[in-house]
Symmetry: C2
Subunit: 352 residues, 2 copies
């Protein structure tokens, strides 16, 4: 019988409390759709620094290697901001996890839900047109991982991309577009960067294998502008690591509902790390008011992409939609709401 | 007596028609404030490619060298998009001009004018709080000008910054903040990039000389998000070349009024290139409906920064404000307006 081993890295801030709800939801769908689960917690981020001195302890990495997927909460907080960059909770855990497991593909959907269009900081004349984009971000290359260095008087970073790296992420974007609205907008700065020229050429070539998908190229500066002016024009955004970092957060801001946005980081073998788009929100941690939906939807993405449990994934997504429609939401979504983290989690469980 | 020589590079699309209005305005303030002007036109961009094969002909560059400032229109259009990157109108003219004249400092103000808050694509609950930011962008360094190259299978770009380059642009930002609201937000990706760590350290050191100015650091991804969520929190944004390219366009989108936004690109000796933030808008070129205000305000910035003619600059800005208040605007600002390019220019001239 099917059995999945999940490394549960709840992390800091609101991470543990929203993770609790996601775990409950996972147990329910496991029973319902008849698969087994082992959920094993491990330290990561600031909590791991406090306990072991390292944001990603060897034991945590080892657990991840023994698992079929990583369910990640969120890490970081004011306590650890003074540390050197590679010791910091976020960077010190996420970058090595991405590199170790070759998680080259980051998927970040961003939506303006019609019923919640007012959450968007965009004008109703724009937000009422809706937004439904999937940001496909390259996650293990580019300027993040190129050669870098410094002296007392200067510093450098290198952005490097190979045809192979561009091809594999482009394929993901085109395949995703086929299941959506058949449009890919590839983001680059081909008027300035050699890596962008190679990016554009390679994406053009990959596009030939997807004749049903429309490809357009857009400069990063224009994309940053167009997302605000008319986000409804986009379907799939294909981005390198740095541009994807920027645009996926811009998209999250436009959606206006960080607490609803999951993400998936995948390698080519079905292994993945799943985490909410939002941060650890230390200001509201421990108060029982954090929105668990992004964490729960991240668990749904894990079922879909790493385990192929499409029915279970969809059941969770439908239960979430049901609760949203019933206005069973935390106060980030509706300031007047009296539902807390556990109540929203319980409502989703009950719906399932 | 004071006499200024200006290289007038009108370019393509709406460039020539809005430039005509800016020239009229300049002639009027020259009479009024008693200085002399020589306005010499030269080819640039697509128009120059058509005539000479080059986006920045040697004769144009020579004229710029003989001048006290460059008033630039806008370049580019569908006709030239197929050319190689360094032959394209925009990149092929702007990048060499920036490098030749060491125009390391790009100033791009972005405002939500209370009377025109509805132009902003942001929700009234956000736009009603206003925005008044100055983006100070480093313009001659970073990944734009670092070593780059490619083979058949990969490509690379290098981002390099020296302490000296960071210091000189940081000083501009702090000095600008002193004349504004005494706050600098420095943008970087110091959790990933060595150049950003050097950037942050150097900016910290420069800040010590401006104790009245508050400094904060923000990651680029967070800044892309915060600008949409609460743009009123910013005063001066200090950015490297690439991040400034992205955020200044995001700011322009948020302002919602590209036709009102000027920009200045300066070196350390008072020489500068002044241009509207918007593009050549080929779709409306030749129709007499383009907004001349961004070009006219660019001329005002030229009077201020290159010639020290503060009174003349302010007179232009006040005349523009007066026309805006009277709703003498083109239809990008008010779709019901019947004023064209020349009528708005004439109204500003008449006000002066
Ligand atoms: C923490 C940081 C290194 C990371 C990134 O830039 O990739 C984060 O911003 C993200 O998007 O997951
Ligand atoms: C044309 C291009 C090279 C240029 C840039 O990226 O600097 C433009 O986008 C700008 O902002 O002036």
């Amino acid at each position: 019988n099917k059995h999945y081993k999940i490394a549960v890295l709840a992390g800091d801030g609101i991470g543990p409390e929203v993770m609790t709800e996601a775990e409950k939801v996972l147990q329910v769908v496991a029973d319902k759709f008849q698969f087994g689960l082992t959920l094993t917690p491990a330290l990561v981020g600031g909590a791991a620094i406090d306990a072991t001195g390292e944001p990603l302890p060897a034991a945590t990495l080892e657990l991840c290697k023994q698992s079929d997927a990583i369910l990640f909460g969120s890490v970081g907080g004011p306590k650890w901001t003074g540390l050197a960059p590679d010791k910091q909770p976020e960077r010190g855990s996420l970058l090595p996890l991405r590199k170790t497991f070759d998680l080259f593909c980051n998927l970040r959907p961003g939506q303006i839900y019609p019923a919640f269009a007012d959450l968007s900081p965009l004008h109703p004349r724009v937000s009422s047109l809706g937004m439904d984009v999937l940001c496909v971000r390259e996650l293990t290359g580019g300027i993040y991982f190129g050669e870098k260095g410094r002296s007392d008087t200067d510093a450098f970073d290198t952005q490097r991309y190979s045809v192979r790296e561009i091809e594999r992420i482009a394929k993901v974007a085109f395949e995703a577009a086929q299941k959506r609205s058949n449009k890919v907008t590839s983001i680059d700065k081909a008027n300035v960067l050699q890596t962008s020229i190679l990016w554009r050429e390679t994406v053009e070539r990959v596009a030939k294998h997807y004749p049903g998908v429309t490809l357009e190229h857009m400069y990063i500066d224009n994309a940053a502008m167009q997302l605000i002016r008319s986000p409804q024009q986009f379907d799939v955004l294909l981005c390198d690591n740095l541009f994807g970092d920027i645009l996926s957060d811009e998209i999250a801001a436009i959606a206006g509902s960080l607490g609803l946005l999951p993400s998936a980081s995948l390698n080519g073998k079905g292994f993945g790390l799943y985490e909410p788009a939002g941060g650890s929100a230390p200001d509201i941690a421990g108060k029982g008011i954090a929105n668990p939906i992004a964490q729960i939807l991240s668990a749904a993405l894990m079922l879909r992409y790493s385990f192929g449990e499409e029915d279970a994934a969809r059941a969770i997504e439908q239960a979430v939609q049901h609760c949203l429609a019933q206005h069973i939401v935390t106060r980030d979504i509706n300031p007047k709401s009296t539902y807390g983290t556990a109540a929203v989690g319980a409502a989703i469980v009950a719906t399932l």
